[in-house]
């Protein structure tokens, strides 16, 4: 039996909140935590809990705060929560964008312009083709996400578009010359420009074989102790971030709700300890160098 490698904890660069647990107004076929309108497995995080952890994070010199779900805009207190978070640090919301109405966009713009720190809206898409996108994300999802992108742009908040490599075709082995590339990245850039999004910002995320895409055990790969030799462990986001969710503080946004990844029931400081790289997702992080944060 092999020992499971560990990732040391370096510093609290980012603090995450799985604000709305596993509840989402969509039910994407690839969702890595199987969110849906009826999945109550992980519950909402209360505003008081968010504030308590933000206070603690500030003493540790946190640089960025992220809110995810589920769909964070299902949380009725989202605006005051963002206001408090922006007093501490730059804040990002990972959203499907479908609930960003003109009124919500106005509120976000008001927050963003009065804050010293950046407020980022990161909106998920899977394809530039409506039928293909909506086959994964549900009918009308592309149209509603585009509406959100436009509403935010019109208010001076250039949104980030997050794309999983679910429909990824050919690997982009060499960097693409702008305008001449036909790759995955270029396709989304062109699509956003064509739709009037003048400052296209893209975040490409590898697909994780978990949640609704969980592989059969035989196909699973793990990080082994031998793989840790000469490996720059700081490329793993679990060395510099933690996530607060229903049940406590977990190692990373990917393993939220997993008992083995829970590092503390109620204390951020206690959770700033090494974590175990036990999951197949750790293998994906190891291979791709992927991070859930914006850059």
């Amino acid at each position: 039996m092999q020992t499971i490698p560990q990732a040391p904890f370096h510093n609290l660069h980012a603090l995450w909140f799985q604000l709305t647990g596993t509840l989402c107004n969509l039910a994407c076929s690839h969702c890595f935590i199987s969110c849906s309108p009826t999945n109550h497995a992980l519950k909402f995080v209360a505003p008081e809990t968010v504030y308590r952890y933000l206070d603690e994070a500030e003493t540790h010199g946190v640089r960025e705060v992220y809110f995810t779900g589920g769909e964070p805009f299902l949380h009725k207190q989202i605006i005051p929560i963002l206001a408090r978070s922006l007093q501490a640090a730059a804040t990002s919301v990972l959203t499907n964008g479908t609930l960003i109405t003109p009124t919500v966009a106005d509120e976000l713009a008001a927050l963003a312009t009065t804050s010293r720190y950046s407020l980022e809206m990161r909106i998920s898409l899977d394809d530039v083709d409506e039928a293909r996108n909506d086959a994964v994300r549900g009918k009308g999802a592309l149209r509603r996400a585009l509406r959100a992108l436009r509403l935010l742009q019109e208010r001076g908040l250039p949104p980030i578009v997050a794309v999983t490599e679910y429909f990824y075709e050919a690997p982009e082995t060499t960097p693409q010359e702008p305008g001449s590339g036909s790759g995955f990245y270029q396709k989304f850039r062109d699509f956003l420009l064509e739709n009037g999004i003048e400052k296209p910002r893209l975040k490409v995320i590898p697909v994780f074989a978990m949640g609704k895409l969980h592989p059969s055990e035989t196909g699973a790969a793990y990080v082994t102790p031998g793989m840790m030799h000469g490996f720059d462990v700081t490329t793993l986001q679990c060395t510099k971030s933690r996530i607060v969710a229903d049940g406590g503080v977990y190692a990373c946004p990917l393993l939220v709700g997993e008992p083995e990844a829970r590092l503390s029931e109620n204390s951020l400081s206690e959770a700033m300890q090494p974590c175990s790289l036990y999951h197949t997702a750790c293998h994906t992080c190891y291979v791709t160098g992927m991070t859930c944060s914006n850059y």
Partner: protein, 261 residues
């Protein structure tokens, strides 16, 4: 060493014309010493031209990520971009700079420190390239919280933190008369539609005064040099328009909203 007034700049990016103008201007402002926070190459033309200027003026230079890459013969600049479009341009200029930097200058880079510490009046200064904890960490004004900066001041026993790397200057007053300053860069304009570049003067009067000084230089001549060296037209456009056209994907929302692209 304790100074009364110093000049600090970052990101030369081979802009030898702006460097010459900066040195002259800092002398006119009676700076007792000049400091460069790294990234001598990249972006601009004829990288070897900045080295004699720095040495003759006695500028105290530390290394940035670009200098570390050149000195160690690495295959990329280590700027930390994730976007393939940014990486395309980054690779192009790194390859050009690597090819046109002499062995002697690469060797000199190897001898430079990664941190500089001096005193201005009663203030202890910690100079780094990106952040004190990571050479290529981006400290943008809109993503660098007070709590984080205060913690760094404590961790590194400094009253003033100085950094560069992002290309856009800012100054933050922290509690207990501590300060954090991103000194900006002299290699390219700062994405505001103006063609000049910036350096920073720090004066103990005896309270710390931080002044950002604009440097006007012959950017049209630099643009001609760049075209002669067949550097990308997108880079030339930035020099002539004052708007960034590349490496935009690392900009946070607030900074991105201020630019044209």
């Amino acid at each position: 060493m304790v100074y009364r007034r110093i000049a600090v700049f970052g990101g030369v990016y081979s802009n030898y014309r702006a460097l010459a103008a900066t040195i002259e201007d800092a002398r006119r402002h009676q700076a007792e010493a000049l400091f460069c926070l790294g990234d001598l190459g990249g972006f601009g033309p004829c990288p070897d031209r900045v080295y004699p200027l720095l040495r003759e003026a006695g500028v105290q230079v530390m290394r940035g990520n670009y200098d570390v890459s050149l000195a160690d013969g690495l295959t990329d600049c280590g700027c930390g971009y994730t976007d393939p479009r940014d990486n395309y341009y980054a690779a192009l200029s790194y390859e050009y700079t690597f090819r046109h930097t002499s062995e002697e200058n690469k060797h000199w880079l190897r001898t430079l420190p990664d941190v500089l510490r001096v005193q201005v009046g009663s203030y202890r200064l910690h100079m780094c390239h990106g952040s004190p904890r990571q050479v290529n960490e981006f400290l943008w004004e809109s993503t660098t919280p007070d709590g984080f900066l205060s913690k760094l001041c404590g961790d590194y026993e400094a009253d003033v933190l100085l950094c560069t790397h992002t290309g856009i200057k800012w100054h933050r007053r922290l509690p207990d008369d501590r300060h954090a300053v991103n000194v900006g860069v002299i290699g390219r304009p700062e994405n505001d539609g103006e063609t000049h570049v910036w350096y920073t003067l720090l004066t103990a009067a005896p309270d710390l005064q931080v002044a950002f000084i604009p440097v006007y230089y012959d950017y049209e001549a630099l643009a001609r040099d760049m075209r002669q060296e067949q550097l990308p037209e997108a880079f030339v456009e930035t020099i002539r328009s004052g708007w960034w056209t590349t490496c935009l994907e690392v900009l946070p929302g607030k900074e991105r909203a201020c630019g044209r692209w």
